[in-house]
Symmetry: C2
Subunit: 222 residues, 2 copies
């Protein structure tokens, strides 16, 4: 059949949105769009001491979200040992100013993934994934860098979480006011917010003749 | 004595940084500087189903961080009923490009608060705090809006968490490479990142003669 598949429903009751549930999306295209737009996730897990929320860089490759850090990291060790994780990505796109405080809001895109993370142990696999991470931030950067050493790989833990039990929640557009409030002479609208790279600042210890690679120069304004 | 008090140490063993611990700060001035620079926090808690991480707007007043939402919100209900919370704020300030992948990093500011949130029940107190929230986003905005109603206050839950068991972690500055790598002709440096407001977009249903308030116009570029 050539018809588009119907929008996916929630993979579990846990990921079904209750509040403002029309903002929920469960299909991979919506999830991937949010995941591919972010850089930082917040990893939530609980130990006997209570809940923790740890900000960490991440990237997506195929059906997985990857994140890395020290082999000795408490967070990564706990997750590799099987603690359940909630991985949340959120992006704020604008301040929504309504005619009443009650209807003020923000425009946003968010994704929440639940499950158990998996340790990537094969050194060649770790190297390949770290290359995707680095090149995803700055195209072609991996080849410009001093090659990674075995000792560095040993000091690094790479984990991945499958995109499986997941939800996205997205708000776009202007304010939605109570009908009678539209008659009030109050300015309403959206003030967009954007995160952008500024001008690259060279390290004072760069060798005199080291040019700024085009791919790094091109980040500015992105 | 006129001497400055020594830098505060961790309030508990739980908030003592293990990884890259020289980036840790436990004094109120450092914590407040991070908290006052952010808008979105991530609330972590755990139920029988597992951990959850919920992005939410927040603001600080004195010794507390406040956040709000629906009276029916699962998160706010759980926290008001006594679930332990970890509230994390993170800001990303730049991409740190080193001469090796291993030493690449990001500049960031983060704060983590642990404890039990408290429900604010007094309607006058809720109103006063919501005014601070709105005016903190746009100075003077509360007085421009249609006044809040009793019914709206009933639909709203306001919680606060005391800044008590808390840590900040901050990275600034350029890359730190292995000494021998400084001899390599590889461009290294920082690409700063900034989040800014863009030009306000008026709601199509604004009355024709409604001017853009100066305080909203002034957000652009901030
Ligand atoms: C930048 C930003 C700022 C926000 N500010 C506020 C605020 O100030 N006050 C407020 O009340 N809410 C805010 N939200 C929305 C908030 O994240 C929750 O969606 C909302 O509070 C409902 O919480 P709940 O516990 O009732 O969720 P429920 O609807 O009970 O959650 C059920 C399931 O829905 C899914 N889900 C819920 N929230 C999200 C999400 N954000 N992203 C992806 N999946 C989700 C999860 O799978 C969750 O397990 C904000 C969201 C973003 C991204
Ligand atoms: C934007 C951003 C991106 C990051 N990206 C990565 C990454 O890709 N990989 C990586 O390994 N780390 C990253 N970090 C650092 C990460 O948040 C942790 O600090 C680090 O992973 C150490 O984790 P741990 O579990 O070993 O912490 P531990 O040092 O064992 O934590 C002990 C205590 O220190 C405090 N603490 C720990 N981390 C923070 C924090 N970030 N802010 C405030 N207090 C804290 C808490 O009170 C915690 O209970 C990033 C941080 C930020 C803000
Ligand atoms: C552009 C690419 C990269 C970025 C932006 C990046 C970013 C980060 C950040 C933000 C941290 C946390 C530091 C802190 O706690 O303050 C970190 C830790 C770490 N990274 Fe990376 N990283 C990159 C590439 C790599 C590569 C290629 C490797 C290894 C092959 C690696 C190995 C590590 C290790 C081992 C740690 C733990 C440091 C410690 O806690 O002592 N990173 N990285
Ligand atoms: C500038 C000021 C404000 C901003 C930016 C703001 C932002 C938000 C956001 C982002 C949400 C989440 C909506 C979602 O889940 O998609 C929310 C929910 C909510 N806010 Fe606010 N808010 C503001 C002021 C207020 C005020 C003044 C009140 C009440 C007096 C209020 C009451 C509520 C309620 C009841 C909800 C829950 C909505 C629901 O889940 O049905 N807000 N707010």
């Amino acid at each position: 059949m050539n018809e588009a598949s119907p929008p996916a429903g929630p993979a579990s009751d846990r990921v079904r949105l209750r509040r403002v549930h029309h903002r929920g999306h469960y299909d991979r295209a919506s999830l991937d769009a949010v995941l591919d737009a972010g850089q930082v996730c917040h990893l939530g897990f609980a130990t006997a001491e209570g809940p923790y929320v740890i900000p960490t860089l991440y990237w997506r490759e195929g059906d997985h979200v990857y994140f890395h850090g020290s082999s000795a990291s408490r967070t990564l060790r706990g997750l590799a040992d099987g603690l359940q994780v909630c991985l949340t990505v959120s992006l704020i796109d604008g301040l929504v100013l309504a005619r009443s405080g009650f209807h003020c809001s923000v425009n946003y895109r968010a994704a929440m993934l639940f499950g158990h993370a998996e340790l990537v142990t094969d050194a060649a696999e770790v190297t390949a994934r770290m290359k995707t991470f680095v090149d995803g931030l700055v195209p072609g950067q991996w080849e410009r860098l001093r090659p990674v050493t075995d000792q560095e790989l040993k000091a690094t833990k790479l984990l991945r979480l499958k995109i499986d039990e997941a939800s996205a929640k997205i708000r776009t557009g202007g304010p939605l006011d109570d009908e009678e409030d539209y008659a009030l002479p109050i300015w309403a609208g959206v003030v967009p917010m954007e995160t952008r790279y500024g001008a690259p600042i060279p390290d004072p210890r760069n060798l005199a003749a080291t040019p700024l690679p085009d791919a790094i120069a091109a980040l500015q304004g992105q």
